[in-house]
């Protein structure tokens, strides 16, 4: 049986040589042992650099945003150029949501779904190794053996995967043009709501702790495929809706606003938390919002092309218990 990566390379090679796509967006090995990095491939000779493993932390769908595509010397999809994009199930949902929101045309994209069993949480790895630098690693039998300058230590794989991956409800893409690997079994069925049952004080403590770490670099916003506003509300200065300094109330407002702006559109991929250089983790809030959306509107972003997102429409049956 062919390895996942070989299957992926074969698929990519075929798409390029048969001229079904002009560009493949995927992952290649990064400059550090536990990092991968996005790669843009136009020539068949570069296909061998494609990888796929638990270091593939970016949501590549972000590169399909109009503004990002327009920026590249490569022409954007509206003019010409078909794009093949490698997508974990969550990334695939983001692509579907972008199509539903008319940001991307389905006929311009070849969605190469790929089986994913979870992405590494680098903070968990670092905590497990007491902050020591990793020079090498080996995955075997549900354990990852990490090696550094003067240490060797195994960590259980299940202990170092991202929380959002461990509680993933949709590990298989519903919409795709190709699928690499085998469908995943044993997915969770209940949304894990970490904020449930916390007292108001406990919730405040959580928000205060996380938001105090923020340095307003906007890595979270820029990594998110669904944050594509041409002018972000936080950047507007005339009028200026909120401050740009690290004043707590301004930073808090930015994050709440971003969470609410992505309500009903967030696919819970965790790219935002992994992008953050200071480990701000507001995923529990994002997940709670999506839980509300599911309960109220029966909607989960990115599962189907044939929907109207709940925040873009209304229905007479929508619950109104909070105003009536």
């Amino acid at each position: 049986m062919q390895s996942l990566e070989n299957e992926l390379k074969e698929c990519a090679r075929k798409l390029l040589t048969e001229k079904k796509v002009d560009l493949i967006i995927g992952y290649k090995k990064g400059a550090l042992p536990l990092r991968s990095t996005p790669c843009f491939i136009r020539e068949e000779k570069d296909v061998d650099s494609l990888i796929f493993d638990f270091t593939c932390s970016n949501n590549l769908a972000t590169y399909l945003q109009k503004s990002k595509l327009a920026e590249h010397r490569t022409p954007n999809t509206e003019n010409h150029g078909k794009i093949g994009i490698i997508a974990k199930a969550c990334d695939a949902r983001a692509i579907v949501q972008l199509i539903v929101e008319k940001q991307v045309k389905k006929e311009d994209i070849t969605l190469i779904g790929i089986a994913c069993t979870g992405i590494l949480d680098l903070k968990k790895v670092s905590d497990g190794l007491d902050g020591k630098e990793i020079l090498n690693y080996k995955l075997q039998n549900g354990e990852v053996l990490f090696q550094g300058k003067d240490f060797k230590k195994p960590l259980k794989l299940s202990d170092i995967l991202c929380d959002v991956c461990k509680t993933c409800l949709n590990p298989d893409p519903s919409v795709y043009d190709s699928f690499i690997g085998e469908p995943i079994s044993g997915a969770k069925t209940e949304i894990v709501d970490k904020l449930e049952g916390l007292s108001p004080d406990e919730r405040w403590e959580y928000f205060e702790r996380e938001i105090s770490k923020c340095i307003r670099c906007y890595a979270c916003r820029n990594a998110c495929p669904l944050c594509y506003c041409e002018e972000c509300v936080v950047d507007r200065t005339n009028p200026q809706w909120f401050g740009k300094s690290t004043e707590f109330s301004d930073t808090f407002t930015f994050h709440i606003t971003r969470m609410l702006d992505t309500a009903g559109r967030c696919v819970g991929c965790g790219a935002c938390i992994r992008a953050c250089p200071t480990h701000v983790d507001l995923a529990p809030l994002g997940i709670k919002i999506e839980k509300e959306i599911k309960e109220r509107f029966g909607y989960t972003a990115g599962l189907s092309l044939d929907v109207i997102p709940p925040m873009a429409t209304f229905d007479e049956d929508d619950k109104q218990e909070f105003i009536m």
């Binding site: 550090l32 630098e133 770490k213 340095i215 670099c217 401050g243 953050c276």
Partner: protein
């Protein structure tokens, strides 16, 4: 020049004493992020912090002036506090000396900004820098490419070398020398054995760094590369966030904003800004001379390795590796430098 040593077990007491006269900052880890703080548990084995110590002298948010009912005050400028930083790494200490020149603090140095930034200068004057050299540089450290090293002395008042049970202490500046002479740091004279040991530790540390890439001609190489298509290759994956700039010890761009409460009072603040943001060069007309990540990445590299050299005589990078570690898409500035060195000059660019 005498060399001293201080026992590690006496350090806590020494730092506690120091707080009587100075605001003392030490490297502290909190929730996975290491930064310089005034309280916490000092760790000697940690690498350079995640957040750069530039934020002690150049805070991310700083009030330049405040006003209330017609009265203007500038508390930041008037402050007479003395600051001591214990546990800086040589890369960050070097960043202080680079930014000193940028902020106009070193008028006698050949290339120094004319404009004096009194906010920086005020805090930096009389600040005491205790640098701990790096026995175990990280794989992302490349200080040795940039005339730095794990025991480099630039920007340092007192250089400490971790010698096992104690730290070797050497003064690298007049302030450092004064401090040892007068302030009663519980040091003893270092023996020949201590010095020899430290020397072999340093040699070992220096040898673990990857072989430096020769960048003596990098500035000139960049002079000829403005229109070269290499910038597309370099910038394609950049998300245009500010992770690299904000965590960089030598980045210093800032925006100025006014924040007011009604008409009677308010403050003028400066906040960190980044050339990587698309908004950085957006003009009032709506035109943006740096419309894509290509132009912005070019700007970042040119600033650090070309303009800084032209304006201040040295590369504006200390090789600390924070940008490599923090970039969400793993842009590696060392790869960029190598790409630039290897780029084939097109006929039109040849001069």
């Amino acid at each position: 020049m005498a060399t001293f040593k201080i026992k590690k077990k006496r350090l806590k007491e020494f730092i506690d004493n120091l707080t009587k006269e100075y605001r003392v900052f030490i490297p502290v880890e909190s929730d996975g992020v290491a930064s310089f703080m005034e309280i916490g548990d000092l760790r000697f084995d940690s690498y350079n912090t995640d957040r750069p110590p530039k934020e002690i002298f150049f805070p991310q948010t700083e009030a330049l002036l405040t006003y209330k009912e017609g009265e203007i005050s500038s508390p930041e400028q008037a402050s007479t506090e003395k600051i001591a930083i214990f546990g800086v790494r040589p890369c960050d200490a070097k960043s202080f000396s680079l930014l000193d020149r940028l902020f106009g603090m070193e008028p006698n140095v050949a290339k120094c900004s004319e404009y004096k930034d009194t906010y920086w200068i005020n805090k930096r004057t009389n600040a005491l820098i205790f640098t701990i050299g790096c026995n175990h540089p990280l794989s992302t450290c490349f200080c040795n490419w940039l005339n730095g090293g794990p025991f480099n002395k630039e920007g340092t008042d007192l250089l400490l070398t971790d010698n096992g049970e104690d730290f070797l202490v050497e003064h690298c500046s007049k302030n450092g020398e004064e401090f040892i002479k007068t302030k009663g740091m519980p040091v003893q004279k270092a023996t020949k054995v201590d010095i020899k040991r430290a020397s072999s530790i340093r040699k070992k540390a220096e040898s673990t760094l990857s072989k430096p890439v020769d960048i003596t001609s990098l500035k000139e190489d960049l002079d000829n590369l403005w229109d070269n298509p290499v910038w597309d290759e370099i910038a394609y994956k950049c998300l245009s966030c500010a992770a690299c700039s904000y965590l960089c010890p030598t980045c210093y761009c800032f925006d100025i904003q006014d924040e007011r409460a009604g008409n009677a009072r308010g403050k003028r603040i400066r906040i960190w800004d980044s050339c990587m943001f698309s908004l950085f060069t957006k003009e009032a007309s709506g035109h943006n001379p740096r419309p894509s990540s290509k132009e912005r990445m070019r700007q970042r590299i040119m600033h650090k390795f070309n303009y800084f050299v032209e304006n201040l005589g040295e590369f504006g990078c200390v090789g600390c590796g924070r940008c490599i570690r923090s970039c969400p898409v793993n842009v590696d500035i060392r790869e960029i430098i190598n790409t630039i060195k290897n780029v084939k000059l097109t006929v039109s660019n040849e001069k």
